[in-house]
Symmetry: C2
Subunit: 231 residues, 2 copies
């Protein structure tokens, strides 16, 4: 049964949307695909964890990692010794990656097992990541990664010193070949199932944060900062 | 600075743990790696979404998808028209995949930007996925995927009929080459940073569910089932 929710269409202004490509047009549930720039930015900005895929010895590898967005650029950092960052840095060609961000918004329980689903928003970015060597861009990227997790934190902590910077690799992936996939709304039960005696509906997810737990060695006179209460 | 948390060691009983391999031993933060079978099962069982990586035309693709675990087997389902499932089904060799599950448990705020981290538990499974054709195993797999999301739901919904089963592909990935990575505890600040005036500690994540929202067309005499209250 086709999904009856409204498609996420792109506007008439081409600059407002990413250009769909062969690999960003899904083979199914096309009505869930979105290319709108603001929609994609907002899905990315609500996250700080992505799943980064790359190919090693012909086989796929998927690792969770932090990321930060600065305009049309995504940044990922890591130890200079980590595999993907070493690979990206070891070649002028860069590293082919797929960076995926997913939010689950609700469990969709239909009367039939077949129509069970999730409400979700995901973004998939395809491209080639390159190592960032420019010191100023590296600083911007590292601040962005901290800000992506806790807005306000990058100016309320000690910045990296030279030794720490030397141990940290940063790679950049431009937002060019990118799409979102979004499902919202209730279950899409078949007409024939409506009279079945099963509960049907959505269980919304309610992610949140618990109260901050100070470090054992924290000076008790240092209060929980405002930007943490704002989370 | 090395992480001072206790390593997650494997027991003396080999059967209690997965055998580490070249690609399941991390190049860094090795003390965070875990191979214990029960630990890995419990991380998997707390999730229902994974990020599935595969290679298409030489490039990595990472897609979020539901999964279910039955013993040492993971199952993923999808439309018979979806790309990874078509690829796995189109070849006796199966499809090389990397299936990754991640839970974020807390934001770790250190005095230095460099030592910011997350508390997390992730599992990475490498292997070759094969299409499941046996009708009984397909039924078990599809029930497991529903149960992974909402325990108790597979017996409280209409099972798939022949037409729905024909439209659904199921692939299996055996748990053989698998590892977990776990970080717990507070920030690992450098000694020299302890007197800095920045708040330091952990912000725990508190994931949860909001009250179930019945479908618009649900018979009001059907109450919210017990297994949803138990979520």
């Amino acid at each position: 049964m086709p999904d009856t929710h409204q498609p996420q269409t792109t506007g008439p202004d081409a600059a407002a949307a990413y250009e769909p490509t062969g690999r960003t047009v899904p083979t199914r549930s096309r009505e869930r695909a979105a290319y709108d720039r603001d929609v994609i930015h907002s899905i990315l900005d609500e996250a700080y964890i992505c799943h980064l895929g790359f190919v090693r010895d012909g086989a796929p590898v998927v690792l969770p990692t932090l990321f930060g967005r600065v305009g049309e650029r995504l940044y990922v950092h890591g130890s200079t010794g980590s595999r993907p960052l070493r690979t990206a840095g070891g070649s002028d060609e860069g590293l082919a990656v797929c960076l995926t961000v997913t939010h689950v918004d609700g469990l969709v329980l239909a009367r039939s097992a077949f129509h069970h689903s999730l409400n979700y928003r995901s973004v998939v970015v395809h491209g080639v990541a390159h190592t960032v060597t420019d010191p100023e861009e590296r600083r911007i990227a590292l601040d962005a990664i901290v800000e992506q997790v806790v807005p306000g934190r990058s100016t309320d902590s000690r910045p990296a010193d030279e030794k720490e910077l030397a141990a940290t690799a940063v790679i950049r992936l431009d937002l060019r070949e990118v799409s979102a996939k979004i499902r919202t709304g209730g279950p899409n039960d078949d007409e024939r199932d409506l009279a079945l005696p099963y509960w049907s509906g959505v269980v919304p997810l309610a992610p949140g944060y618990a109260a901050p737990v100070p470090a054992d060695d924290l000076d008790p006179s240092i209060a929980v900062p405002e930007y943490l209460n704002a989370l």
